[in-house]
Amino acid sequence: MIRKNWLTLGLLIIVILFNSGCAVNRTTATLDPTADLVGIKTIYVTKLAPDGRGINLLITDKLKSMGYSVSTGIDAPEDVDVVVTYKDKWMWDITMYMIELTVTIRDPKNNYPLASGNSYHTSLTRKSPKEMVDEVVNNIFKQGVENGQK
């Protein structure tokens, strides 16, 4: 009898823990009012040192598909229009998934963040890394259009 009760308690805790993380979705994009994304032609995507999943390549491909001249690597040169940095966060729930991605467009001369986008999706509404990259990058440039930059 007591053993059955403890089993019920264990199941209750598991259900509460799983439900507590089920439905957080957040997307944001910001553009500095002093920034201008219109004149961008060349972009360098700086690979995050611990990134073993090639997120830099997904961002590079996305930006190339938008018509920019893009290169990627570890050391950002100064002779590009902007540098892109990113930060990805992963969680485990049956399988590993990307819970959060932040992409920032920076001035190569002083590292100043000109624009930034962030997406956060917990397990039940998880997206693939490519979908996360698409969402964040699209939101950043959409923000530029909304601020009157074509």
Binding site: I13, A23, T28, D32, P33, Y112
Partner: protein, 180 residues
Amino acid sequence: MVRNKVFIFIALLVSVVIVLSGCASPASKDAVVAHNIPITQHHQKSVSVNTQGGSETGAMDSSNISNSDFAKAIEESIVKNGLFTQIIHSGDSDYLLNVTIINMSKPMFGASFTVRMEAAWSLSEQKTKKVVMRDSIESSHTATMGQAFVGVTRLRLAVEGAIQENIRLGLMGISRLHLD
């Protein structure tokens, strides 16, 4: 019978603790206002403050600060430290201060929580649109188990500390400027 009552009590207690421990509270505006900033120059100008990158705090989320609370905290810090003579909300001010939260990394586990924050601070003249300052400001703050035993409270304290430090560094940077 007594064993069953004890069991029910423990089950209820555990459930309440788990549910409550998941309820995050937002960073308090009053807790992030920066006091006693060493001001190099008090500017005899007016300023408007615009903030981006903040977000509301959901019950199952971690502590955040909303854009309006972030702006109010910066404004209050400016007033308390006499950095500018006037805060104007309509936009007809001498300068526009834009502060964007770029990143706030928060730990999920640990005895001490260290939150790291990056914010983009830009100050421009309203009439000419001339940019007089562009700075990426990084700050961090650690909250210990001694300060708060409950994890969500400890995280909120760390978030508030990182925001307050960012405001302090940002306004110190502006006070070093020579404005016309």
